[in-house]
């Protein structure tokens, strides 16, 4: 897994690449929490390069979403591969996240 954080103006893009599983979910959580602690109120998670996610990764996304809702922030996901989107669908996560086909749509959403 590889995580890149890009801040531009009023939003922050987090680019996650590779596999997000039980072995690295803790590391991912740390990086997500660091972005939240910086006071970002608008976060886009770019999943273009995300090839795999397990329940450990989904768990952290839900934690982030709960925190963002609490501060009335906006947490959007974009560019999910069909296989990843399917995992979101069967978990009931597709309805609790704002998911966009591309970053442009996420910015306008």
């Amino acid at each position: 897994m590889n995580v890149k954080v890009e801040s531009s103006g009023d939003y922050t893009t987090i680019i996650v690449e590779g596999r997000l599983d039980t072995t690295n979910a803790g590391e991912f959580e740390k990086q997500m929490m660091a972005v939240l602690q910086d006071g970002c109120t608008r976060i886009i998670l770019d999943c273009t390069g995300l090839s795999y996610i397990s329940s450990s990764g989904l768990r952290i996304l839900l934690v982030v979403q709960k925190k963002m809702i609490a501060i009335k922030g906006q947490f959007s996901l974009c560019c999910l591969h069909p296989g990843i989107k399917e995992i979101f669908d069967i978990s009931g996560f597709s309805t609790i996240f704002s998911i966009f086909p591309d970053k442009e749509a996420a910015l306008n959403g």
Binding site: T22, T23, Y52, S54, L58, L62, Q65, K66, G83, I87
Partner: protein, 142 residues
């Protein structure tokens, strides 16, 4: 239709880092058996969720334990057996999470076994001797 069965087995220890080896093994197997990338991802996910549970809750001693993962493809049936010597635990009895809840009310966690049930067609548990057997099957397009 080719009915000949192919089998493979992987032994791992009860350490989370073993999941890296599992992922590589599943990918290799997918190539050998001609499985699609999305199917390999789903199967890897089912195995990871099963192992994560066993490793996190199956043992309370400090010793190293071996967990066996058997895979078999016969025609368009795929079988996975995960065998461990941890505490007796029947994951099929675990209640499903309420996936209709909103983000605010949705409970964190409890998704692992649910994902296994959704990915696989059948999920059965058996306790024999001091071992847990989690037997999974999936119908695949051949």
């Amino acid at each position: 239709m080719d009915k000949e069965a192919v089998r493979d087995v992987l032994f791992v220890t009860n350490h989370i880092d073993e999941l890296i080896r599992v992922a590589a093994f599943m990918e290799e197997l997918g190539e050998k058996w001609g499985l699609s990338v999305s199917l390999v991802m789903s199967l890897n996910l089912a195995v990871e969720e099963a192992l994560t549970n066993i490793i996190a809750y199956g043992y309370d001693d400090e010793s190293s334990h071996t967990i066996e993962i058997r895979l078999e493809k016969s025609g368009n049936e795929l079988f996975i057996n995960v065998i461990d010597d941890g505490h007796e635990y029947d994951p099929t009895l675990k209640a499903d999470p309420d996936i209709t809840q909103s983000a605010e009310t949705r409970k964190v966690g409890g998704l692992g076994i649910f994902l296994i049930k959704k990915i696989m067609d059948t999920v059965e548990y058996q306790r024999t001797g001091n071992k847990n057997y989690l037997n999974l099957t999936k119908n695949i397009e051949s």
